[in-house]
């Protein structure tokens, strides 16, 4: 079982007061009333309670839905993002925001366990030495206009990781729809971690 916080400890004192302190702390968080002691609920008790709960479902008080439920979508930011990680710090940018990832820096698109996550602005400020940005327009991000020729040249010659931004914020750049010959994030001149 993964531990996200390592805050547990066994207290080896013989006195009752540490427990009293914990009682007071947790009780204070939960409610003003002192904690009530009871036996842990059994499956049978919960099954009875659940049956009653389902009979009195508050959703039944609302008008029934007239629409087909929408298709379910995976909700996970990691799968919608590219990772940039170096020197024990990391950030997430939208997928297809990394326009160029030089082979020499391929490992910087992999999250190193234990790295500290931070927002883009802070991460970029600390890693300007190997990251450069390219400002794109709303239309270029949507793929309705190709990237500027100058940008394409920069991508060809860059030895840095290139991230597309819109007014400073990383933005995904979709493949151009109108002009198939225009440079795209998946063109051979580039290596992009978002190819899949």
């Amino acid at each position: 079982m993964p531990k996200q916080h390592r805050g547990s400890k066994v207290v080896r004192q013989a006195f009752a007061w540490p427990v009293a302190v914990q009682c007071a702390w947790l009780a204070g968080l939960a409610a003003a009333a002192p904690p009530v002691m009871k036996d842990a609920a059994t499956h049978e008790q919960l099954a009875l309670q659940l049956r009653k709960c389902q009979q009195e479902d508050p959703m039944h008080r609302l008008p029934p839905s007239r629409a087909e439920p929408p298709p379910k979508q995976a909700q996970d930011l990691i799968s919608q993002s590219d990772v940039l990680c170096f020197g024990g710090i990391a950030t997430l940018v939208p997928k297809h925001a990394v326009l160029l990832l030089p082979k020499a820096m391929a490992n910087r698109s992999e999250f190193t366990a234990g790295s500290t996550l931070m927002g883009w602005a802070e991460f970029y400020a600390k890693n300007r030495g190997w990251i450069t940005t390219v400002e794109v327009t709303n239309e270029q991000a949507a793929g309705t206009q190709p990237l500027d020729a100058e940008v394409s040249l920069r991508l060809k010659g860059s030895i840095c990781v290139v991230v597309a931004t819109y007014q400073g914020g990383p933005i995904s750049v979709l493949s151009p729809k109108a002009s198939p010959s225009a440079p795209t994030p998946s063109d051979p001149i580039q290596s992009n971690p978002s190819k899949h």
Binding site: M1, V11, A16, L50, C53, P64, S172, L174
Partner: protein, 340 residues
């Protein structure tokens, strides 16, 4: 008008960010998604900041998602969403439980929680298109499976439990006595419940999730005291006791206490040395403790009860208990005689 709404959205999200920023180990991200194109932009703000989103709201509307991400393990949790678009109602979903922990809301399988839903911007004129007159609220449940923690959970496998329509502006609270996540042992279910509000498809927009929130459900703890049997007579040193603890609530204090007399709920006894386990985690924990050399807390002879208790934001639960008789008195019968 759109710009105004957009600014409002970011203010609300920033407020949520502020609350979540209080818990170490989580990093927050805000994403703006253009629903018509699929373009995503990182629109993060500082924990207490407010800013305008420079990216215009798309023709199909924009969805703003507030995420929190842990780095160990690398996992993301969707905390809140707001949708902005033309003729799209504004909605919010807030879940409350007895556990004040954040940013990811949580409670226990046997505890209640409530869902507060607010909707505004619904139209009601006869000429208004039908999709502008209501939104749908959907309740999903999803089990994490045995010993699951919800890391990298695929929400597309969630089960739609119930759905209903909201046809009038206003707010309402849905109260639930306990979770409906299915399981063969309801004490041990672990998973999450999600409440999502969807607007309906219109000419320029598809079905859009306009608000969503979820709560994690963790199992009820159980424990065993072994090494002492009910009614056992202890004549000399107290035996070594093994305390097996399963599914302890992430924020809990568990300990063993002893007191004179028969088992009775609500009695405050003496804590057995070495038995106190303080947890401040994000997922349930299982441990095994060994108690020995605790004779000093049993300061008199007679009937004693040993209890295993766990203190959580929901109160104190007794997980196990055993009574035993202590008689350490040694009677020496002697006879002194002389030759005379």
């Amino acid at each position: 008008m759109k710009i105004y709404i957009l600014r409002l959205v970011l203010v609300l999200i920033a407020a949520a960010t502020l609350a979540s920023a209080q818990t170490p180990g989580y990093t927050n991200f805000i994403r703006q998604l253009q629903t018509s194109t699929g373009v995503q932009r990182d629109a993060s703000v500082a924990a207490s900041g407010v800013q305008w989103s420079p990216l215009p709201v798309g023709s199909g509307g924009s969805r703003f998602e507030l995420w929190t991400v842990t780095n160990q393990p690398l996992a993301s949790y969707l905390l809140d969403t707001k949708y902005v678009g033309a003729f799209i109602p504004v909605a919010g979903v807030t879940i409350h439980s007895e556990d004040p922990y954040g940013p990811v809301l949580r409670t226990r399988a046997d505890r209640p929680f409530s869902v507060h839903i607010s909707v505004s911007g619904l139209l009601n004129a006869i000429t208004d298109p039908a999709p502008t007159k209501y939104v749908n609220v959907l309740r999903y449940v999803q089990s994490y499976g045995t010993n699951g923690t919800g890391v990298n959970l695929d929400n597309s496998h969630a089960t739609l439990l119930t759905q209903a329509s909201i046809t009038q502006d206003g707010s309402q609270t849905l109260s639930y006595a306990l979770t409906s996540i299915p399981g063969t042992n309801l004490r041990k279910v672990r998973g999450e419940e999600r409440f999502s509000l969807f607007s309906q498809a219109q000419r320029q927009t598809s079905v859009a999730q306009i608000a969503s929130s979820h709560i994690q459900i963790w199992p009820v703890a159980d424990g065993v005291l072994s090494g002492l049997s009910q009614g056992q007579l202890i004549r000399l040193a107290m035996p070594q006791v093994t305390v097996t603890l399963n599914d302890l609530y992430p924020s809990s204090t568990t300990y063993v206490q002893v007191y004179h007399g028969n088992p009775q709920l609500g009695v405050t006894g003496k804590t057995v040395p070495g038995s106190t386990l303080v947890l401040n985690e994000s997922v349930p924990q299982s441990r095994v403790l060994t108690l020995k050399g605790y004779d000093a807390v049993l300061d008199s002879e007679g009937l004693w009860t040993m209890e295993l208790l766990t203190l959580t934001p929901f109160g104190i639960d007794r997980l196990a208990y055993v009574s035993f008789n202590l008689n350490r008195m040694i009677k020496i019968n002697s006879n002194l005689t002389t030759i005379e």
